[in-house]
C-alpha cells in the first residue's frame, strides 16, 4: 500500500472534521455521531444522514475510521447498528487538521486584533 501521508487528507471539510472529532472519545454508531455533533456545537452544525454516510464511506475506504466488532450490551442498543472508531491514521489526521486550524486562527487573530495594523 502507498505510504501514508497526513497532508493528503487536509484540509478537511467541516463535516469530515466533526465526524473525526465525534469519534475521538470512543466508538459510536451513525445516529450517535449526529447527536454528538449537534450537542457539541450547540446546534450550529447539523449533519444529515446522506452527508454523514458519505463521509463514513470515504473514511472507511481511506482507513481513517473502521467498523468495530465490539457491541455494547444488546439490551442497551440495537445490535444491527454498525459502530465506528477512530484508527491511528484517523487520529493523526484529526490532530493535523486541528493544528492547521489553530495556526490559521492564530494568524487571523494577529492580523485582526485591535491595533495590529496601525499606520
Amino acid at each position: 500500500m502507498a505510504r501514508f501521508n497526513v497532508s493528503h487528507f487536509l484540509p478537511l471539510t467541516p463535516a469530515m472534521f466533526q465526524v473525526l472529532v465525534a469519534l475521538a472519545d470512543g466508538e459510536k454508531h451513525g445516529y450517535a455521531i449526529l447527536k454528538e455533533v449537534t450537542r457539541r456545537t450547540g446546534g450550529k452544525v447539523t449533519l444529515r444522514a446522506g452527508t454523514l454516510y458519505t463521509v463514513i464511506g470515504r473514511f472507511v475506504d481511506d482507513g481513517l475510521i473502521e467498523e468495530t466488532d465490539e457491541r455494547p450490551d444488546p439490551s442497551l442498543d440495537d445490535e444491527r447498528r454498525r459502530y465506528y472508531r477512530l484508527t491511528e491514521r484517523g487520529r493523526a489526521v484529526a490532530v493535523a487538521e486541528t493544528e492547521r486550524l489553530t495556526e490559521t486562527l492564530a494568524q487571523a487573530r494577529a492580523k485582526l486584533a485591535p491595533g495590529a495594523r496601525r499606520v
Binding site: 451513525g30 445516529y31 444529515r48 444522514a49 464511506g57 475506504d61 440495537d78 447498528r81 454498525r82
Partner: protein, 884 residues
C-alpha cells in the same frame, strides 16, 4: 410512509454503498424522525439525493484507480492490448471517414437519385460511354422518359490579361439547361439563355467557378458583363457560381472545369456527326419513370437510329444508369472490400484483447476467490472487470482516433485520384461519433468474454486455491477457440490481399505497348493572337484554317526541335492523347469503297484517334509491324496518310491488307487518308482495358490546328532533371504559353492503376497486422499454458518423457487450433472471394496458388510462434518443479 419513501430515496445510491450503509442510514433516519421536527426528515432525504452523485463518482474513481493499477502491473501486456486496439479502432474509423465521404454522402445535386448518365453502347469501339451530337439531339427530341437531357464536352483554354500570368483553365461546355437540371443557381448573374446555346457569336458567354472568380478576378462582383478573352477570343462573363457549388461531373469528367460555356453546336459541323462520339449525356428522369423504363425506351430509339443510318451504328444500344453509379460504381467494391478488411481486423483486435484479459483472469483467479470470500459482491467484480475493459477501450479508442485523424489526412492528400471525393474525407462529427460507439462496443465485447471465467473463479471460492487442471483445460479451450477465429480471419484477409497483389502483378506485367521508362511528359499549348492568322484580315474560313494549322505546326515543330537539341534527349514528339492519360477521343472509322450494308459485322465504326508529330512512335518505342511510320514529309499539301494499330488491321480489315486502303475519320464523307503503316497495340484506356482500333494521323495533316498537345521526351538520363531546361526553352519560344502536368511518364502509368495499388497495399497491411495479432495471441496463450502446466510437464519429464516429446506435445497443442483456423479461414475465403471478382485481373477468385500460399505462410508463422514456448517447456527442470 416516510420510512418507505426514505428507502426509495436510498435506491439512488450505488448498490455497493447501500449494502454497507443503507440499513444504518434507515435506522438513523428513524431515530431522527422519532426525536426531531418533521422538517428534519425532508432535509435528510434531500441530503441523500444531493450526496448520491458524489458517492457514485467516488466509487467510479476508486474503480478507475484500481483498474489503472491492475492494468499497469503488466506493462507489456498493456502495451500489446493498446497497440492492438489503436490499430483496430484507428483503421476502422479512418475507413469509415473515407466511405462516408466517398460513398455515403449524397451527390451534390438536387434530387440526385433521379439524375442519370445516358451512354451509347455498341461494338467495335462504340462503347466509350459517349455519343455524337446528332444522336444526342435525336434522343432529346424523341424520348419521353426524361424531363431534361443535356450534353457536355470539354475544352481547355488560356486565360490571360488582368496583369497576371497566362493560366490554363478547363472548360466544360454544356447544354443550356445543365444548371437547372442539377438544381444549381449562380451566386451572381445568371445561367445560359436559349439564344446562347446556338452556334455563333452569341454563345461566347461564360460562367465562372467561385475559386476562379476569387483567384483571377479578386472576387469582384462587377465582373458580370465584363469581356474576358479565352485563348484570345472574347467571352462575356454572365455568372459566378457559389462557393458551395460542387460538381462531380465537372471535377471528375472534365478535369476540374472552372469555366462553363454553352455547348452551342452547329448540327452541320464536322464534329457534330453521329460517329464523332465525344459528348457525355446526362438526364433527369421524368416524374414516375424508372431507370429501367428509360433504358428500354433509349434502346428502342437506338434500334431506330441504326435502321435509319446503319453506317453510323453497330449493334447500338443504351446504358442508362444513376449518376452515382457512374462515379461511385467502380470504387464501391474496392472500398467495401477494404471496409470488410478493417472490420475483420477489429474483430481480431477485440479477440486478442479478450484473450489477454482472459489470461489475466486466469492469473488472478486466486485474488478473485479471496475477494469473493471477503464479501465482495459479483456485481462489484463484474463492474471492476468491465471498468478495466472500458478503460482499455477508451485509451485504445482515443489513440485510435488520433491515428485515424492522421490516416484520413494522409489518404485525403495522397490517395489515388481515381477515387472520387476522397480528398473530402475528414474527421467529421459523424465519424467521431462512430468512433466513440465503436470504442465502447469493443470495450463491452472484449470485456464480456473473460467475465465467465471471472465468475467461475468467484464461485470456486477459497477452498480450491491455486489453478486446477480442469480450470486450465477450460480456459485453454476458450483461448484455443479465439486462436482458431483469429487465424481464420487472418487467412481470409491474406487470401484477399494475395489475390489483389497477384492481379496487380499481372497488370504490371501487361505490356502497355509503349515504353514509359526514361520519358518525361507535359502539356503545351498554342493559343493567342499569333495562332489565328488571317482572322483579322477576314480571309475565307478554309484559308484561315490552313494558316492556323501552319502556325501551330510551325510552333510545335520549333519547340520539339529545340527540346531534341538538349543534351541527353534522344527523341521528342507530341500527341493529342497520351496513352493511359485518361483522355479518349473516338472518331468514326470508315473504310473507303466498302459497302456498309450486309457487311456490318466486319465494320468498326469507331477508333481511338491520335494526332501525333513524327517521332512519336520512336519516342514511346511503339513498334512498326508493317509499312512505314509517319514522317516529316506528311504535311499539308502531301497526300493525307494514317497509321493504324494491329487491332484495327485485324478487326476492321479481317484478312485483307490494310496498307494502301483509304479511310475517312469522323463522318463517312470526311477526307480520305491512305493507310501507310501498322504499329503494335497500345493499352490506351487502361492496362486492364480492351484495346480498341487505333488510328494515328500526322499533326501537319489534321483537319484543324490543335491548341494543346501532350509532349513526350525520351532521355538517356533522369527525365525529371529535364524539367527546368525545357521550361526555360519553351518560355524562350513563347512566354505566353503555359506548361502543365509535367511528370515522368512512369507516374502516368502508375496512376492508371492507383486504385488497385491502393486497395492491394491497404489490404496487405491489414492482413499483415492481423497475422501479427493472431501470432502474438497464439504465443501468449501457449506461454501461459506452459507455465500453468509446469508441474504436469515436470512430472512427465521426471517420469522419463524426453525433451523432444514435451516439445512436440506443446507444438501439437498450439498448432491444433491453428489448423482448425486455416481450414475455417480457407472455407470462409472460398465463399466470400467472389465479391472481389471485379477487382481481379488475370487470376481466378479460387486461385489455388493464393490459397495454398496464404495457408503455408500462416502455418509457418504459427510454427515460429509456437517454437519458443515449446522450447521453454522442454527446458523445465523436473527436480525444481517437483520441489516447488
Amino acid at each position: 410512509m416516510a420510512d418507505r419513501l426514505f428507502r426509495l430515496v436510498l435506491r439512488l445510491l450505488p448498490e455497493e454503498f447501500r449494502a454497507a450503509y443503507a440499513r444504518d442510514m434507515a435506522a438513523t433516519f428513524r431515530a431522527e424522525a422519532a426525536s426531531g421536527p418533521t422538517g428534519a426528515r425532508w432535509r435528510t432525504m434531500a441530503d441523500v439525493v444531493r450526496r448520491a452523485p458524489g458517492i457514485h463518482a467516488d466509487i467510479l474513481r476508486r474503480d478507475l484507480r484500481l483498474a489503472i493499477r491492475t492494468l499497469t502491473a503488466r506493462p507489456l501486456a498493456l502495451i500489446a492490448a493498446l497497440v492492438t486496439l489503436t490499430i483496430g479502432i484507428g483503421a476502422n474509423v479512418a475507413m469509415y471517414a473515407v466511405i462516408h465521404a466517398v460513398l455515403l454522402a449524397p451527390l451534390p445535386y438536387r434530387d440526385a437519385s433521379r439524375l442519370m448518365a445516358v451512354r451509347e453502347t455498341g461494338v467495335g469501339g462504340a462503347d466509350s460511354g459517349t455519343m455524337g451530337y446528332l444522336t444526342f439531339t435525336d434522343i432529346k427530341t424523341r424520348a419521353t422518359s426524361f424531363a431534361d437531357l443535356v450534353a457536355a464536352s470539354q475544352s481547355i483554354t488560356t486565360l490571360a490579361g488582368g496583369g497576371r500570368d497566362a493560366e490554363r483553365v478547363n472548360v466544360m461546355r454544356a447544354s443550356r439547361t445543365y444548371f437547372d437540371m442539377i438544381g444549381a443557381a449562380p451566386a451572381l448573374g445568371r445561367t445560359f439563355t436559349e439564344a446562347e446555346d446556338k452556334p455563333g457569336a452569341a454563345r461566347r458567354v461564360m460562367i465562372l467557378s467561385d475559386s476562379l472568380w476569387r483567384r483571377r478576378f479578386n472576387a469582384d462582383p462587377s465582373v458580370i458583363d465584363r469581356i474576358v478573352e479565352l485563348s484570345g477570343i472574347p467571352f462575356k462573363v454572365i455568372g459566378v457560381l457559389p462557393a458551395t457549388y460542387q460538381d462531380l461531373v465537372a471535377s471528375r469528367l472534365y478535369q476540374g472545369a472552372e469555366i462553363w460555356t454553352p455547348l452551342g453546336y452547329d448540327p452541320a459541323a464536322v464534329f457534330a456527326c453521329r460517329t464523332c462520339r465525344h459528348l457525355r449525356v446526362f438526364g433527369r428522369l421524368a416524374p414516375g419513370v424508372t431507370a429501367e423504363q428509360a433504358t428500354t425506351e433509349a434502346n428502342r430509339l437506338f434500334d431506330a437510329f441504326e435502321r435509319e443510318t446503319p453506317k453510323d451504328y453497330n449493334q447500338a444500344g443504351a446504358d442508362v444508369r444513376p449518376l452515382a453509379d457512374l462515379f461511385l460504381g467502380p470504387v464501391r467494391p474496392v472500398l467495401l472490400t477494404l471496409w470488410a478488411g478493417v472490420a475483420a481486423l477489429l474483430l481480431v483486435a477485440c479477440g486478442n484483447v479478450a484473450h489477454l484479459l482472459m489470461l489475466r483472469a486466469s492469473e488472478r483467479s486466486e485474488e478473485i476467490a479471496v475477494r469473493t470470500a471477503l464479501g465482495v459482491s459479483r456485481t462489484r467484480l463484474v463492474r471492476q472487470f468491465l471498468t478495466e475493459s472500458i478503460l482499455l477501450a477508451v485509451a485504445g479508442g482515443t489513440a485510435g482516433m488520433a491515428v485515424a485523424w492522421a490516416a484520413v489526412r494522409l489518404v485525403a492528400a495522397e490517395g489515388p485520384d481515381q477515387i472520387p471525393r476522397l480528398a473530402q474525407a475528414a474527421m467529421t462529427v459523424d465519424v467521431v461519433l462512430v468512433g466513440v460507439a465503436l470504442t465502447l462496443a469493443s470495450g463491452v465485447i472484449f470485456g464480456l468474454l473473460p467475465l465467465r471465467q471471472v465468475l467461475r473463479h468467484a464461485a470456486g471460492g477459497l477452498q480450491r486455491p491455486g489453478v486446477r487442471a480442469t480450470d486450465t483445460a477450460t480456459a485453454w479451450r476458450s483461448r484455443a477457440a479465439l486462436i482458431t477465429a483469429n487465424v481464420a480471419i487472418a487467412v481470409l484477409l491474406l487470401v484477399g490481399s494475395g489475390l489483389l497483389v497477384r492481379s496487380l502483378g499481372g497488370l504490371l506485367a501487361v505490356a502497355p505497348g509503349v515504353d514509359a521508362s526514361g520519358v518525361l511528359t507535359f502539356n503545351i499549348f498554342a493559343s493567342g493572337e499569333r495562332f489565328r492568322p488571317g482572322q483579322a484580315a477576314n480571309l475565307p474560313d478554309d484559308e484561315q484554317n490552313r494558316l492556323q494549322i501552319a502556325a501551330a505546326v510551325q510552333y510545335y515543330d520549333e519547340v520539339l526541335a529545340k527540346i531534341r537539341a538538349l543534351p541527353g534527349v534522344t527523341e521528342a514528339a507530341a500527341t493529342t492523347q497520351l496513352p493511359l492519360g485518361g483522355d479518349m477521343d473516338q472518331y468514326g472509322f470508315h473504310v473507303h469503297g466498302r459497302a456498309t450494308a450486309g457487311t456490318r459485322e466486319s465494320e468498326a465504326p469507331s477508333a481511338d484517334r491520335f494526332v501525333v508529330t513524327p517521332g512519336y512512335f520512336s519516342a514511346l518505342r511503339i513498334r512498326l509491324v508493317r509499312g512505314r511510320l509517319l514522317e516529316d514529309r506528311d504535311r499539308q499539301g502531301a497526300e493525307s496518310v494514317a497509321v493504324i494499330n494491329e487491332t484495327a488491321a485485324r478487326e476492321v480489315f479481317r484478312g485483307e491488307d490494310p496498307l494502301g486502303k483509304r479511310v475517312s475519320l469522323g463522318p463517312a464523307d470526311a477526307p480520305q487518308r491512305l493507310i501507310v503503316g501498322i504499329v503494335n497495340d497500345v493499352r490506351h484506356g487502361g492496362l486492364d482495358a480492351e484495346v480498341f482500333p487505333q488510328v494515328y494521323v500526322p499533326h501537319g495533316q489534321w483537319a484543324w490546328a490543335e491548341t494543346g498537345l501532350a509532349v513526350v521526351v525520351r532521355t538517356t538520363g533522369d527525365p525529371a532533371a529535364l524539367g527546368r531546361p525545357i521550361r526555360d526553352l519553351i518560355r524562350g519560344v513563347d512566354a505566353m504559353q503555359p506548361i502543365t502536368n509535367m511528370r515522368p511518364y512512369t507516374e502516368v502509368v502508375a496512376a492508371s492503376i492507383g486504385t488497385r495499388r491502393f486497395a492491394a497495399t491497404l489490404l496487405t497491411v491489414f492482413a499483415a497486422t492481423t497475422i501479427v495479432m493472431a501470432m502474438v495471441g497464439l504465443y501468449g496463450s501457449l506461454g501461459v499454458m506452459v507455465s500453468q502446466r509446469r508441474r504436469e510437464l515436470g512430472v512427465r519429464l521426471a517420469l522419463g518423457a524426453t525433451a523432444a516429446r514435451v516439445r512436440r506435445l506443446v507444438l501439437v497443442n498450439g498448432l491444433r487450433p491453428v489448423a482448425a483456423g486455416l481450414f475455417a479461414g480457407a472455407l470462409l475465403a472460398a465463399v466470400s472471394v467472389g465479391a472481389l471478382e471485379s477487382m481481379l485481373y488475370g487470376v481466378r477468385p479460387l486461385d489455388a496458388v493464393t490459397f495454398l500460399g496464404a495457408a503455408a505462410a500462416l502455418a509457418a508463422c504459427a510454427v515460429l510462434a509456437c517454437l519458443i514456448p515449446a522450447a521453454r517447456a522442454a527446458r523445465i527442470d523436473p527436480a525444481t518443479t517437483l520441489r516447488n
